[in-house]
Structures are given as C-alpha cells and as structure tokens.
Symmetry: C2
Subunit: 410 residues, 2 copies
C-alpha cells in the first residue's frame, strides 16, 4: 500500500500562509510524525477515519482521547440533536447543567460538587487557584514532564513566559516520594496543591504506573500538611474507571478534573471536589461564553450513561490486553522486545532500549502503510467502537510492519 498525501500537502501549504506554523499544538506535524502521516482528516465513523486524500485508517488515537464510544456514536448524536432543537447557548443555564452535576456527584465517590468549562486547561488551572484560595498558600507541586494544559504555569512550550509564571511551581520526579516530601519540606506551610495525573503518561517515553505505596504516600503527605490533592484525570478519565481513575489506584483526591472523553467529541470539561473545597470553589471566578452550552452537557450526560450501559471500561481493558499481547508476540516473533506500557485502554508503545524512538517511528510508519494509525510518541486510545476483529486486524498489520522492520535491520 502506498499513501497519497497530495491534498494533505496542498492544504498544509495553504495553512502555512495563514496559520503560524501551519498546524499548532499537539496536532502539529512539526512534533515529529512520520512522513506518511496525513496532516488533515476528512471524516470518521466508529473506530475508523478517512484522511483528505481518501486513505482509510483504523484509528488508535480517537481524537487524542476525546472519542470514548466511537466517532459519531448514533445515540450520543441523537441526544445532542434533540437538545440542539431546543437551544444551546442561552442567557441562563438549562436543567442539563443541574442534571449533569448531579450525575457526576453521584458517580464520583468523593465529589460533592461539580463545575463545567470547555478545555482541560480551564479546570486544571482553576483547580490550582481553588487550592490557593482554600489554603492561603502559594506553591503548586507537579511531576516533571507531566502535561496539565496550555497555561503558563505548566505548558510544555518554550515561548511567552516570564519567570514569575513558575515562581511558585515545584517539580519532582514521578514515583519519587522522597523527592516530593523534601520539596514539600522546602516550601513548608506554603504548598497549596499537588497536581498529578493518575499515572504518568508523558509523551516521548513509556508510561509509568504508580509504584507500590506512591499514592498512599502522596495522600498521607497531603492529609498531614493540609495540601490539596488535585487529580488531573483529563486524559485518562472515563477510560480506566467510570467512577474516576483514582479508584483504579486506590486513593482519594480532593479535587479532580475531567475533559476529553467526557463529551465524546463535544467540548466540555468538569471539575469536581470535596465538600470542604466548596467555598474556595465558589470564590474563584469561573465562566465562559459557551460554558452553559446545553448540547455539550447533553452529550456528556448521554456519554456517561452509555459508557456504563455498554461496560466500556471493561471492554477497553479486555481489548487493550488483547492488543498488548498480540503486539508483544508479533514483535517477539521478529526478534523485537516490544511492549505496550501504561493501562491497556490507553497504552504507550515501547521498544526496549529505543530511547530516541527511532525504531518506534519506523514501526508506526510501517503500520501506517497498512492503514493503522499508531502514534509514535503519544499514548494511544482505544474506544468503544473497537472490537476483537479490529484489534486482530491491527495486530496483523503490525506483524507485517515488524517483518519489514526486521528486513530493514538486516
């Protein structure tokens, strides 16, 4: 199979004239995607998409996680359409906002309240401000390399910052409880929040699960020192446990942030919290022109319900394990020590010893030629529209890729 990229390249050339860098952020090809990857997409359905040159792909990114049930899930679309016929952005919230807040408080064990916004960053940044308001302290501690959004206190870019943006942000190595403790000690009585993802899903490297005792230690430190534990569940939320990813790892945050999978492609984010944070939450300003959008809230509500009904978390885990085993075995057959790291539902691929991601880039490019969209430096995402047959198809494509990789190596 060869891949046409004619229209993709034409569009990108047009884009470079009217968009700085052509494509920005996590979708930017400048981020180092293999040359055969398309720059622009045309359409999608279920777990497949078509690029602008008419190439069809088996999708293992699912809108970088935004798509939980599958692209254009008919039941989500129908519910959204019903609400759309009533209205979307009005002068007041609709009953949908109350219903969605009630649903999240009911599902997430520690949550007593919820608020809604549009982006993950809206809520992660707001949560740090709520922690500062609640504690009267200044420092926010985070894991090195963890992604929490586009704001200046945490963004992974290099431009547009002044030193004050991070004057009260401290970093420690994921899983390094001693490092975290001494950082907290260093800023004794001035740490407002510890912000963490449920496991470490940094780009450009294997995912790291929490070490034994890590979460218990973090929680203990927070309780002892009165530090607010903010769970950034923006990327993992809805895929690991439908009551919040903290349940999979056995800890309880004070505040948790969700977005991505929440609306199955409708832009919405949420922050939930414990009762004692309610006053702080009320007192930190929060709003946006379309934040009361009833259509996105309806989509989120339906998506939460369907995920439960269809047992999506268990399904993604089972399919993820099948994918993981299939790829590992296929790699081994061709002499590669290849594995999927992190949770099966959103794995990060890894060749042992491939620190510069050289093999991984080649592997993903070869899979692309077989019509499978495996990202070479970001974790993948499974969705509810994947089936055993699609997993097996991907494994078969990967086998071809591994065999070519062997040939290239020889």
């Amino acid at each position: 199979m060869t891949l046409s990229r004619k229209r993709s390249d034409e569009l990108f050339l047009r884009a470079t004239k009217v968009v700085p860098g052509g494509i920005y952020g996590h979708l930017a090809p400048a981020g180092g995607l293999p040359k055969v990857f398309p720059h622009y997409a045309e359409s999608a359905e279920g777990c497949r998409f078509r690029d602008v040159d008419g190439n069809d792909w088996l999708d293992f990114m699912c809108g970088y996680g935004a798509i939980l049930l599958g692209h254009r899930d008919p039941e989500v679309e129908e519910a959204a359409e019903r609400q759309r016929r009533e209205g979307s952005v009005l002068n007041q919230p609709t009953a949908r906002m109350v219903e969605l807040a009630e649903a999240m408080v009911e599902r997430i064990d520690f949550a007593e309240w919820a608020v809604f916004a549009k982006n993950g960053s809206d809520v992660t940044t707001w949560a740090t401000r709520v922690a500062r308001e609640h504690t009267g302290r200044r420092f926010v501690l985070k894991a090195k390399g963890a992604y929490h959004g586009v704001d200046a206190w945490c963004d992974p870019g290099f431009g547009g910052r002044i030193p004050e943006d991070r004057k009260f942000v401290g970093e420690f190595k994921w899983n390094d409880l001693d490092g975290l403790r001494s950082l907290a000690k260093e800023h004794e009585d001035d740490v407002a929040a510890i912000v963490l993802t449920p496991y470490h899903h940094a780009a450009f490297g294997p995912s790291e699960m929490p070490a034994d005792g890590f979460w218990a230690g973090v929680e203990e430190l927070c309780r002892e020192k009165g530090i607010i534990l903010v769970l950034d569940d923006v990327r993992a939320g809805s895929r690991l446990d439908d009551g919040g990813s903290h349940r999979l790892f056995g800890f309880t945050p004070d505040v948790a942030c969700y977005s991505k999978a929440l609306g199955n492609g409708y832009a919405i984010s949420a922050c939930v919290g414990r009762e004692d944070l309610r006053r702080g939450a009320r007192d930190v300003f929060l709003t946006g022109s379309c934040w009361n959008d009833a259509v996105a809230m309806t989509a989120a509500m339906k998506c939460l319900d369907l995920a439960r009904e269809r047992n999506v978390v268990a399904k993604l885990d089972t399919l993820g394990v099948r994918l993981s085993k299939g790829l590992r075995d296929a790699g081994a057959k061709h002499g590669f020590s290849f594995s999927l790291t992190g949770p099966p539902a959103m794995p990060f691929p890894w060749f042992d010893g491939d620190e510069n991601l050289y093999l991984l880039q080649q592997f993903c490019e070869l899979c692309a030629l077989e019509g499978v969209f495996f990202h070479p430096h970001h974790n993948w995402f499974l969705c509810g529209a994947h089936e055993e047959a699609t997993i097996d198809q991907a494994v078969e494509a990967a086998s071809v890729a591994f065999s070519k990789l062997t040939a290239e190596k020889a």
Copy 2:
C-alpha cells in the same frame, strides 16, 4: 402578567447542592438580577426564548452576545449538521481550519494569520504571551474595569490569586491618554502589550465610546515604543463591523481576539495578527482537546458568510438606533432622562444620575413582567433575528414599565 418561577427555583435549589453557589460566573443570579428573572432556560428560537416555567421572553441578551444571527439559525444549523455527519474532533485538523483562517485573513485588513481556540480567555491570555515573546518585555497595560477573561492576570473575581499574578499588569482609566502615557513611561522599555476593548463596555455602568484622539494616541504610543496593541474584540466582534471593530473607530491593532458571536452559539474563539507577530505566535504553545472541532469551525464560517449576505451589522445598527430613540422618547414622556449608551447594536441602558442602578433594576424588572429580557447591569445584544416589529414591541413594553415606574415614584 405575573411570572411563575416555580421550576426555576426548584432547579436552583437542586443546583445549590451540587454546584458551588448554584450558578457561577456571568450567569450567577448572585450578580444581582431582579427577582422575577428566571434562573434556567428551556429553549430558544430567533430572538425569543422560553424559561423552564414556560414564560416566553423577547431576548435582548442573545446568549450574552454568542448569538449573532438568532438562536438556532436554520442555515448555520444545516451547515453544522452537514459537517457533523463527517466528523467533529479528529486526529488532525480538517480543511475547515484552513478555510476559516483564510476567510479571517481575507476579512480583517491587518491580519496575516489566525489561530482558533474555544474561549475568549484562551486567546486574550495567549495574545499577551505572544506579545511578551515578541518583545521580550513583561508588562501588560489594560483599562480599569475592562473584562478580558477568567485568567488570574485579569479576572474580576476576588479569590484564588497571588500577588505575582498581577505584578506585571498596569491599569489606567479608559480614555485617559495621559494616564496611559505615564504608565508606559513608568515601565519604560518593559511594556509588552496594551490590551483594550474597542470601546469601554464595563458592567454596572454606562458604556464609554473612545474620546476623540484616544485611539490615535494609543496607536502612536504603541508604534513609538514598540508595544503590541492587542484588541480584545471578543464581546463586540461581528456586531460593529464585519472586518473587525477597529474599523469603526479608525485604528489598527497588531493582534485581535474574537469569540462570542463568531460561531452563533458554537464554542470557538480566534486570534488574528500582523505578519511580524507570526514568529511569536508560532512559539507560544497553543492547543486544546477539541480546538480542531470541524463543526464549530463550519458554524463560524457560515456565520461570517451569512452576516455579510444579510448585512447584519447595518441591520443591528438601524434597529439599535430605533430601540434607542424609542426608549429615550418613552422615558422622556414619563419624565425620565433615560438613554442607551455605547453602540446601538449592543447598548448599555442608563438613567441619568442613577449611579447605584436602582431605577435601572426596577425598570428591567417591570420590562420582565411584560416579557422583555433587558439586563440591568450588562450591555444588551441585538441579533439578526430582531425586526422592526420586535423592537417596537420592546419599546411598547418599556412604555408600560416607565409608566409604572412613574406611579411608584409618585
């Protein structure tokens, strides 16, 4: 007419249990809306909406400006639905992103590039970072009381801030050119940006148009000192001039931010800029899970086209002048010195001498009893679905309100 608020109150009571403060941000009733105003809306069409108790309203807020053409404009909805059938949030942008960027660069005279996000705040804050990156300077100067978003450098709330958030933010009084000049002098060679709305549309007070020479003076200062002039056109954009509000006032910014009216209820924001800011724009990180959403981009594209085709800017101006004259005359007839301030398309109501907004609150409450939704401390918004007859209906309702206000006064 009496207004039932039973279901509105029930929903609000439920909300107070699961949402801090019940309703947050600009929609919060705690902001001081008259008691008859509904807390929750049910549906909307054109320039009318229905609240959850079945009361019908003639709408003069239009989703706080998000609705430019009218609620659920059939042509926007049809275009959005066509795109929705293809897909929304994919692993790449779609051609819609290139087309929309091209359209904005074509329409906005000084713009050579465009980027897209979801909230107004996403782009106003990003623009200040681009200015810092471009200039290597730190200070952002803004007008006192101007709203530029929810971020800590500018939000109107009281909670969740540390002094460093505003260490490099300076404020001057709108229209006070001397004050601005001395502020710039005070931070000589360290001012990155001046951020301004096209006219001063603060809440809780009459709108202030730019004084003669104000914009020329601001522009001259920026050119002389190498300061980036950021136009925050989030609220006014698309209503005053379809090439950007700076055209109405005869100046040229370096960067301009849009949102609200851009997508007619679909969440999208944009920032456009001059050629020499392109490198800075490329180098400040910018992304979000649903920022490539092709449905919102399609809605925005259609909304821009329809606004031109239907000559919406001129229509809103004509209708706004009619409303302004009608209300002024009706007020005068009952002995009130009442006027609409600011541009006719998005006027702020004002009783002379009513500094505490006491009369204005009563007036808006009395208009509410006649089925007209006039906001008592935020500027109003006209939309393309208003007609002469709806304006006249509103003026008639206002006449009743003025007469009752006279009776109360007597």
